[in-house]
Subunit: 361 residues, 2 copies
Amino acid sequence: MSVTLKDVAQAARVSVSTASRALTGTGLTSERTQQRLVRIARELGYRPNPIARGLKTGQSRLVALLVHNLTNASFQVMAEVVQARLKALGYQMLLCIGGDDPQAESDTLTTLVDHRIDGLIVVPTGKNGAQLKALSKDVPIVCLVRRDDATDLETVLADDPQGAYLGTRHLIELGHKRIGLIVGRQDTTSGRERLSGYVRALREAGIARDDTLIHAGHYVPETGATCARKLLDLPRPPSAIFVANHEATLGVLRVTAERNIAIPDDLSLLCYEDMPWFEWHRPAISIVDNGARDLANLAVDRLLHRMDVKGNGNDGVREYRVGARLIKRDSCRQIDAPAPAKSGKSKSSSSKSSATKSAKV
Amino acid sequence: MSVTLKDVAQAARVSVSTASRALTGTGLTSERTQQRLVRIARELGYRPNPIARGLKTGQSRLVALLVHNLTNASFQVMAEVVQARLKALGYQMLLCIGGDDPQAESDTLTTLVDHRIDGLIVVPTGKNGAQLKALSKDVPIVCLVRRDDATDLETVLADDPQGAYLGTRHLIELGHKRIGLIVGRQDTTSGRERLSGYVRALREAGIARDDTLIHAGHYVPETGATCARKLLDLPRPPSAIFVANHEATLGVLRVTAERNIAIPDDLSLLCYEDMPWFEWHRPAISIVDNGARDLANLAVDRLLHRMDVKGNGNDGVREYRVGARLIKRDSCRQIDAPAPAKSGKSKSSSSKSSATKSAKV
DNA sequence: CGATAGACTGCAAACGATTGCAGAAACGCT
DNA sequence: AGCGTTTCTGCAATCGTTTGCAGTCTATCG
């Protein structure tokens, strides 16, 4: 079927071993035969069989990435980044989708090690700590985005406390005093951390924490909508909402649209994590970028490092934090200005965002 | 390291071959030893090594999916579907991202066959027909979404002519006579087909084709924006725009926002392919659903079929079409009603969208 | 009772590479 | 020339399975 090492060796009238050494470039072969073999191999179109090689060396040139889904924009860019990096290094990426389901995660993990993957980057559900720990003896593993507290695996995390702090402070600086927070479940690291950043910014600014302004739930549009309604139905509704997740943002936008609440005139909106269409949306939505791209890159770096060092060389560091950054667009507005006649929370549609409108069409 | 067939055989005091036969269930072994071996294997936690098996059998239990990117919502759901289906069958999915770049595609293809993948589902760039054709002798291949005209590979396509026809007809039925079309490059099948569907609907309705209303370009937001501007700058701008791609839709929305064009009051908008946020957007965007999920499922079906039949059993059919369907939401409006005073293409921001605003908040 | 078919089982050779070990060739040195 | 190095090459084993072939055992039948 395809050209094997044996064919090359025969064509060159040398033994298979010599051919192998010449082509893998171990330096144990003479310059002349080396070049000759390389030439012949090329002429014959020889391509080494990774399966056979893998059997002997125990490596597969396969690295797996296990994420929850692909609808999440962060996971998308991570998958793209990981794939690109690995490909450049001659690895193939096995992309697995666990759906945040412990059982599926567990199954997937075992098949992956069966396949003798050379490395694994995983967004853990947090329910398979024991298994992950056991696996990490055989395969280099790096956790991404979430930590699995039952393990001591190297983990690359977004700096959620800082990101949430940054975002909240931004809103405070714009003059907001009542800032609604829609945040993730409090039994996840990120949920807790984002809340803590928010609280810290409030405290620093000397603003009292008001628990009626804080709502936690799953990262889905429905939750966003529900929480937004609760916030807006408050006797004294917030002047700004910080949505700590992009999926939930969809729900919030829906509610503001339904109720005809103009952003940012009637309500400022700040979102955690980017989505491609946020900057095309009108108004373009300001965000705290969790640095998905950097996260993925760092995870790959760490994984490669571990794969090199072999033997699970722990160099002490267990946790890496990737800084978040604020990207200001048009969905948050200054609020402390002495309200001019037509501004404030009227239903006017003529503030900053629309001031530059052309009458074109 | 891990327990091998030899270990199992030893524990059971049989030869490796017997163990192999018992565990793979060839039926060539006595009921009793069969069950005994299965038991022992389980007790020892034996897991067959796919690499070793692959070396012998020439199969890898790996199926590759090669798409252009993951930002495209259709590709996302396809990837999810393919992954789920394959996993259920004990295959792992190799997800590759080609970026619609012929060179990358070509490279990827060769590494994939190196890895002895058992099957391939590919969204071809159309520039590597020869290679694909050659590969298809070794590996079952199914093309998805796009056809590669240089090959006779089995291909699963969206019914673009029908989808475009459906969408256009919908707009016509709503009374639109001048319908702008923003469509893909005309050197792609889908680009041409979507145009043809549009043209057919027009013809059927007895509306003359107006080429100033038709713009083609890449499926990216920028193109959408550029084309939208051209359309809106026309002396007689269209009353509806049919955007034959969701990415381009972003650009269109941006332009309508910039120019304060209310949808659907000032302009009806219909989009090809769904995106998760379209139904959360306000107004919710009407679409022609290309049936990404069905496409992926069918592609997997066909691939499995080919993998079974082995020897590239062609059963004649070369092309499968998956029907598109119209999903009406809120971005298209009836236009033939005798225009009331305040409608039309004024720059007013006070049509339906803002008329119902509550002063809430 | 012996022959023979049938049902299991084991031996050993693959699959395509890598690699330890030892032999061969080439070289420099005295 | 003889000897020790060094450098290169080939043999053969190995990785963990599968599988053709031949051998063993039992049971059945004439």
